[in-house]
Symmetry: C3
């Protein structure tokens, strides 16, 4: 497997229309894996920008009415050009605007990958397909069967992150066991992962499901390496840097050595 | 005192309508203290988002006309629901737009806490209540008496940061002596503190004045611990991370041990 | 030479209308060098804000139609007040909107410095004046003669960053040999440099060309020091912090000792 080597060889440009909270980390994690970020969200230029890129990453984290039109335009252009198109429906279910916008995006744009948590996937599906974690402190989760159902319904590979991560097409799924719970104490690890997915899949187009699973595994492994690299007294802000640093130093060999997953 | 323990127990959601300069640090410091951030600034969703939160934090640092309406709507909803509502009037006094917007916000919304520096509080009061620092390099300051006057006039607990921090209601005030002057060389320590205030007060509702003073003390203590953790060659960018890290590792015991304040 | 000492003495306020990707790093690097940042992009306040500053920094990295009008208004006010005015035409050439906006800005505003890469300068000039790097992995570059031509045509000192950095007026130029190729793996080192330029030139107004060259040299030297300070396992995210830290700790003595350049 040469997922990361392929990214570093072709250095895919990733057009990111993303939230202003975590955008800097998104840009740096894309550079870390060997891709190049371009952020552009004005309706007047998104088609131009998408045209020179390999993939488009749409994230609705700080949605506003001005950029919804930009997302639709960019998405249609990306589809027309056959580019990889990725959605992170941040907060779908938390407000009517987000739920409706996410549903509008999936009805008008064909996504190769949707990366989300269990409740966001449920909001996109219009039905609750999540199950409760075994103890109260755990977030909701989606099992492999349900994830394949969602992938079929949403016509996209889906990557659902939680205690165990699930990456599913309508016929198969990966369970991925990497990562650490402390990653939840950093803003934007999900946004970063979605961006990585856009890079991994763009540089490894022969198998979207496997490339997406590799991205999820890479983020989890980076979370473990970054945690081990924390110095005494460090916390979530330094951890953020150390995870991106671990992506910067990651190779396919490291990914293969530390990745833990099951293919069904 | 269990200020931090209470935050970590209930993990209050803090709806933040804040500037795009320091928003990432605001999100990470909220996670560090045990709260959860949600950023949303579109008029079409701010009421939905505020409704699922415990507190609302409004910061006018990169004000624009689109988001002023969102701030008003969110603030009124927050008041109607009895949520904690915090204002950081960044730059009030520096432009007519900021001064007028800050005054409009306090006339239409009831704030539990206003966190600002001396000149911003003066701009809100419509009169100069600050006094000059003893040497030329010091910023203006507000003494305890004037702070109580401002708290009465603005109908809010006020937290004025400066060489000595003052947290005042109309009847009482705290002087807080923690923090370091090097914190001024980091963008956004004030924005972060205001966000912390929204978390501390939301999780400790029985005494807004004390909870607000605890937030100010925590930021000051974190500034001292973070400074001591700096490695050779590090400067303001690493210091930013080390302060947030110190909040992440802070406990009520640490806060009690290192906090230095006087209650009047 | 007392470039940095002068910044720390007068602490110039730099009004920055810049992209939301790298704005936090821009603010921190300005503080690191001894200047103070103010970010404000609403048409209703940019003239007020520019009026209280020493320089204006315009960066079109995440351009949108709302802020173009703000840039024009702020630029005209800055010119009228005789303030230092700096442009970073990020992505000029990548979309019609950016190219046209950058050209509109230079036709309506007089810039003291334009800081860009070779292809952006070409887009501004309306003709390709770059030359290919000697090996395929190198970005395009502009030689000293062409840079003087561009400086004449654009009526501004220009700072073109690449393998060798060129800072040129219409009559003279500096070649600067500092910096490391790994700086390209961090988002926003260019944006930060442009901001530094606004601070260096504002505090050293007797010689714009030399002050601009000093800013470029400082960023390159910081890139070298920051790289040497990297701990094992660190990558681009920590490198970002260590570069800003190196600016924080930089002195004119360090700049003189490690700066490597040629004046023609």
């Amino acid at each position: 497997m040469k997922y990361i080597e392929n990214i570093r060889k072709i250095s895919p440009l990733v057009h990111s229309i993303t939230n202003y909270v975590t955008v800097n980390d998104v840009a740096n994690v894309l550079l870390a894996c060997g891709a190049s970020p371009i952020m552009a969200d004005d309706e007047g230029e998104v088609e131009d920008i998408t045209s020179i890129c390999s993939s488009l990453y749409i994230n609705i984290g700080t949605l506003n009415t001005r950029t919804i039109a930009s997302m639709i335009k960019a998405g249609k252009k990306s589809n027309a050009l056959g580019h990889i198109t990725v959605l992170d429906p941040v907060g779908a279910g938390a407000s009517a605007l987000r739920t409706q916008t996410a549903q509008k995006l999936i009805s008008e744009i064909k996504f190769d990958v949707i990366r989300a948590n269990a409740s966001e996937i449920s909001a996109l599906c219009g039905e609750d397909i999540s199950s409760r974690g075994v103890d109260a402190s755990e977030a909701d989760t989606i099992d492999g069967e349900k994830a394949m159902y969602a992938a079929d319904k949403l016509d996209s590979v889906i990557a659902v992150t939680g205690k165990t991560d699930i990456v599913a097409s309508k016929d198969h799924y990966f369970e991925i066991y990497n990562g650490r719970k402390e990653m939840k104490s950093i803003t934007g690890t999900g946004c970063q992962l979605s961006a990585l997915t856009a890079a991994f899949v763009a540089a490894n187009r022969e198998d979207t499901l496997s490339a997406c699973a590799a991205a999820v595994t890479a983020m989890g492994v980076a979370g473990e390496i970054g945690f081990n690299n924390l110095l005494e007294g460090e916390g979530n802000s330094s951890y953020r840097n150390r995870i991106i640093d671990a992506i910067y130093n990651m190779t396919d060999t490291v990914l293969e050595k530390y990745g833990r997953s099951k293919f069904v």
